[in-house]
Symmetry: C2
Subunit: 585 residues, 2 copies
């Protein structure tokens, strides 16, 4: 009981103060986030009057729930189509921001005389902007639906993905002292595979399940189911060593395709508002004003570097990828802060014992300061752009104008004929099906130790266990393998038509075309087999047994070919239906 009462007291202090502060800051026309952080500092352990929080750990934990709900809500407002639209810009801007900030951070650290590891971690801490703070600031300012905000969300998604990769890489560097390009590629590849497959499978299953629940008409059941999916998926994501934030975001993006999107948003909003308030209070809790004074100069320098560096790097990236100057400036100013990701990276350094003790408080202080400045910077972006445009020499502004024109010219020139767009579509479908096949074999490999233990009750022989495991993976992936084969075949036909022109090949035209159309799919399927064999290394049966399995599979395939085609087609239709369905008002 006592633990509980202490906790309720803590929560009472946090919520009561948050309640006062939200009204006060609204009255003062200041962003409420700042109010929450200020409330956190007041009740925090470092400021008088006295220690108001007994069990800071539990409040921190509730704050993490805030991150889950914030990311989930962000996912709900996410649409795959929108992201494809801003894709190129987002990647260019995010990459330019991360690379430049990594470099700036490292240089600042070195200039301050810190160790190379501290400097590297400082770079990583400065690289990623804060999704939660940006979402909050934009929705406070009522700008969340503007087109530049969509661009920012795209950049943040790319950043989060790159940030997760960076976390894995940093852990590797900290432990081995060097960076391996191969590891980086594998990390990114796995992440991409995971996201693609989750989205595909999720969009196929989750909206359908929610339709079933929605028919009961009970809000409670709907909410508990949504939370069940949300936390259940987060659990899966955690087991794969990714962050909860990624999981919450992905499952949100999946549910964004549900017909009941607006009802879900409605049910989740109170949870998000309550717990994000707690999250922002916890940021304030961590802020020690004394450390800010001790490390005043480094904090000031780093804060300035974050603001200027991010505006320049991200703004420039956005501009270079073809946005106008105003939008680029707004994007740059919106992302000019660091937040939760920086804390995670700083925590990693502390956990691995490779960074110095001052790095964490500095990260929090810089995050708090840049959070303070973010809403003001977003507000001044437009006036500032206008003033710069006025003050700029005519030749320079002409150059900028010409760059934009040239880029737009490129884009128009690239407008594609139907044939290429058809090819692209087939390639995309092949890639998606291959991703599913890869995911199935990886998942079976991943669970092999566990399923092996279960199988050992019936099968003592280890190679035979592998045969069973590999066969299961093969059978499950049959529909997708069939689809890959069929799509490759149409691609080969298309390719044969295009590459072998009647004028040059003469009488051989038809034979050559036939050869290409027949050979290419077979060659591809051999490639697919090699890929699958590589991915399923740990469960690949010995060669003799493998041949037997493949022969059986071929026989089975002859029997179920039609069924495979049918099931794949219905999945495809179901997926398209879900994507095309508009949410209920």
């Amino acid at each position: 009981m006592h633990h509980g009462i202490g906790f309720i007291q803590d929560l009472a202090v946090v919520m009561a103060l948050a309640g006062v502060v939200t009204v006060l800051f609204h009255r003062l026309k200041q962003p409420v986030v700042l109010g929450y952080i200020a409330a956190g500092v007041i009740i925090g352990p470092y400021t008088p009057p006295f220690q108001l929080i007994h069990d800071e750990q539990t409040i921190q934990t509730l704050g993490e729930l805030g991150v889950v709900f914030l990311m989930f809500s962000l996912g709900l407002e996410f649409s795959l189509r929108k992201v494809f639209k801003v894709g190129a810009t987002a990647i260019v801007a995010a990459l330019s921001e991360i690379v430049l900030m990594l470099w700036i951070g490292y240089e600042i650290g070195s200039a301050l005389g810190w160790s190379p590891m501290d400097s590297l971690f400082l770079g990583a801490i400065l690289a990623i902007s804060s999704t939660t703070i940006i979402v909050k600031a934009l929705s406070d300012l009522g700008l969340k639906r503007e087109s530049f905000a969509q661009l920012v969300f795209g950049i943040l998604i790319v950043e989060d993905i790159l940030g997760i990769a960076m976390l894995v890489l940093l852990a590797g560097i900290a432990q081995t002292g060097q960076l391996s390009a191969g590891l980086a590629a594998v990390t990114l590849g796995k992440l991409l595979l995971f996201m693609t497959v989750s989205l595909l499978v999720g969009v196929l299953l989750v909206p359908r399940a929610l339709n079933y629940v929605a028919r009961t008409g009970s809000d409670e059941m709907m909410l508990v189911s949504v939370l069940g999916f949300c936390f259940g998926f987060c659990l899966l994501v955690l087991k794969l060593d990714y962050s909860v934030a990624l999981g919450a975001f992905l499952i949100g993006a999946i549910m964004a395709e549900s017909r009941h999107l607006h009802r879900i948003e409605h049910l989740i909003a109170p949870l998000r508002d309550a717990f994000s308030a707690i999250f922002f209070v916890t940021i304030g809790l961590m802020l020690n004003p004394a450390v800010m004074l001790d490390y005043g100069w480094p904090i000031a320098v780093i804060t300035l570097a974050v603001i200027v560096g991010k505006i320049v790097s991200c703004g420039l990236g956005t501009f270079l990828s073809g946005q106008d100057a105003g939008t680029s400036m707004r994007v740059g100013m919106t992302v000019s802060q660091i937040g939760e990701f920086s804390f995670i990276i700083a925590t990693l350094g502390v956990t691995l014992k490779v960074t110095s003790g001052f790095l964490y408080p500095i990260a929090v202080a810089v995050s708090a300061l840049t959070t303070l400045t973010t809403p003001y910077l977003i507000r001044v972006a437009d006036p500032l752009t206008r003033r710069i445009a006025h003050a700029m020499p005519a030749t320079l502004s002409n150059v900028f104008g010409m760059y934009g024109q040239w880029l737009r010219g490129l884009t128009t020139a690239r407008s594609e004929p139907t044939l290429i767009s058809m090819t692209r579509r087939i390639v995309l479908q092949i890639a998606l099906n291959l991703a599913l096949v890869a995911a199935i074999f990886l998942a079976v490999s991943y669970s092999a130790p566990h399923s092996g233990r279960l199988l050992s009750h019936w099968l003592d022989d280890e190679p035979l266990q592998r045969v069973v495991q590999w066969s299961v993976a093969l059978v499950v992936s049959l529909p997708f393998l069939v689809a890959v084969y069929r799509k490759t075949k149409s691609l080969a036909l298309l390719f044969a038509e295009l590459s072998v022109q009647g004028a040059t090949a003469g009488r051989l035209t038809s034979a050559l075309r036939h050869a290409i159309a027949e050979l290419l799919p077979i060659v591809s399927m051999i490639g697919v087999f090699l890929l699958v064999a590589a991915l399923s290394g740990s469960i690949l049966p010995p060669t003799g047994l493998l041949v037997a399995v493949l022969t059986c599979a071929a026989l089975l395939l002859a029997l179920v070919w039609r069924w495979c085609v049918k099931i794949h087609a219905s999945m495809q239709i179901a997926l398209r239906e879900t994507f095309e369905e508009q949410p209920d008002p």
Copy 2:
């Protein structure tokens, strides 16, 4: 970080399983509460497959949040008018239930050869029904707005109040070994005073504050303010050593008078649903099937005793206070379980080290079993009543019918003339104002050590500090004292008119009337002064200073009399307005 991830994992397991279970039990047409409890048993530490929860304490804590939100929602659906309507019945039924169950519990404990303290605690554990389980069962069955449900809620409120008193008394008995009637009276009196004053002050302040917040139009701000009030009030209640459940319920009842009631209900519902699911899962978590087998017989006997005992005692109490047989049966069957209050009492026994170790698991097991039976009992109440009515001998059913008629006759006979109802109203107003005065003096006394420390910077002399403290209390309570004086005067006038009839007193009529009308208020005010002096014992200045203070107060009163009357009138009007206002649709 690690704590957080473990916690998110736990929450993920709980929510994912709750999501599956809620759909499954809805499919099976069973109450969802049972599903949540079953989910708790599955993931609990006592059942295979393995330990799924890492940090049970944190999940328990979230479950307590569920109690807060459940009680708050219950408060929101509470209306003071409704309770006044079911008041007498609720008190009779609750008292008859508590007294009978205390006795049954004690007798069972003695029969099982337990120690007197174990037996007494068993009685207390069985005495109070579970508000949360009843609310859940009734809303699952769609019966929450039926008239018998209103009666049940009235009984539960009375039970909760008596339960809180019982907790304090039990602690006293456990420590001293005896029961003092004086202590019991003081405990109950303080509780009544606290509730009255909280409701009065709360209804005056909170709905107005919420109107201000509502004007911003932001749901987030509204929610955070509501939560701020809710937890802030819970904090106050905790400081006064009452339970969070009482606090949440009271602040809910206060907000029920707000114009924005429906908006608040809408915002709170998702929080309530999510956390009450966790709360019910935590009940399952505590359930050890092995203990249920070890203590199978006692648990079976006690479970039967709870069900039969509560149906008989509470049903009889309801019937005796004038409800018909069907309603009485439904009420009795609805309250036939034990729940969260029993756990609190069992925990008290463990904390004070006066009860044996088996009492807590038995309480949980009986609670789980009776929770299982509650929805079925509610459902069979009506058919059972009909069957009993059929089977009953005609003479017996005649006697029952006559009792009802006789009681209804009494009620009709009691319909009052206007004069008495006017007197009653004035007495009520005097009582409420006196309650406020008492609360002000008690609050100042309570905070005296703290304010004394602050005052000691300027005033070294302890008696002078008391003068300041007592004067502050006096000045704050002036408007209410003036109101008490004026109401007493009108009461005295009324009394003079009635008691001194012109026929008997003759020529002295007018003089006597005048004397009564003048003397009575003065005598009463002396009584009020003695009451105040008794309540503020610790801050009452020494006699010499007290006389000086009272003289100053009399002078001040002459100056601000009009202002006091005006401020009291406007408070009264504000209160009446709030009560009479209908919530926005």
